[in-house]
């Protein structure tokens, strides 16, 4: 498997439900970031969690990080149709400055 793998690859839920996406990685990281991408568009930064943090909240978003398992989760609560997009995790390794992206989770929120 590759650095920054998300699961599931695709998730379809009803409006109002919660959506949980997971990300696993392989190397030591400085931080992990979640991005959103609407079809054919740019990447919108959602939230950054540092390696010494375990949980972070931003509005309807909750991110957790477990460095012992090298995994993170993104929870979107009370989803809306407008949340429909692809969600990517990206890790910044302790050495280097590049972000390494996962394959992404395609979230569909049905009205």
């Amino acid at each position: 498997s590759q650095q920054g793998e998300e699961d599931p690859q695709a998730l379809s839920i009803q409006e109002g439900e919660n959506a949980t996406m997971n990300c696993s990685y392989k190397t030591s990281i400085n931080n992990l970031q979640w991005y959103r991408q609407n079809s054919g568009r740019g990447l919108v930064h959602l939230i950054l969690i540092r390696s010494n943090e375990r949980e972070k909240h931003s509005g309807r978003l909750r991110v957790t990080l477990d460095t012992s398992k090298k995994s993170s989760s993104l929870l979107i609560t009370a989803s809306r149709a407008a949340d429909t997009a692809s969600y990517f995790c990206a890790t910044l390794e302790t050495s280097g400055s590049r972000l390494t992206f996962g394959e992404g989770t395609q979230l569909t929120v049905n009205p």
Binding site: G4, Y35, L43, V44, H45, A90, S97, R98, L99, F101
Partner: protein, 113 residues
């Protein structure tokens, strides 16, 4: 809110031609990046740039690629002789050093025919 801008939004070129993709990073940012995303695939790092020089590059960033910051605002990616497999969305990003957050531009879709 300040944002990263990129031009053009879509570029179509013939194989073998040179292309220059342009980016204007956020004004007080000091680190700049190029990434690409082939259709249906994940985003891949190309190069990072700091203090007027390349700080890191990936194996994708071969001799056909170059970057430049020709003035105080623009950051460019040049592909000297495009190949079909260079067709992708190219994203520029800049970083706010105090937070490590990378802010991405809307991308340039490059189509090589």
């Amino acid at each position: 809110e300040p944002e990263v801008t990129q031009t053009p939004s879509h570029q179509v070129t013939q194989m073998g031609q040179e292309v220059i993709l342009r980016c204007v990073p956020i004004s007080n940012h000091l680190y700049f990046y190029w990434y690409r995303q082939i259709l249906g695939q994940k985003v891949e790092f190309l190069v990072s740039f700091y203090n007027n020089e390349i700080s890191e590059k990936s194996e994708i960033f071969d001799d056909q690629f170059s970057v430049e910051r020709p003035d105080g605002s623009n950051f460019t990616l040049k592909i000297r002789s495009t190949k079909l497999e260079d067709s992708a969305m190219y994203f520029c990003a800049s970083i706010e050093a105090s937070t490590d957050t990378q802010y991405f531009g809307p991308g340039t879709r490059l189509t090589v025919l």
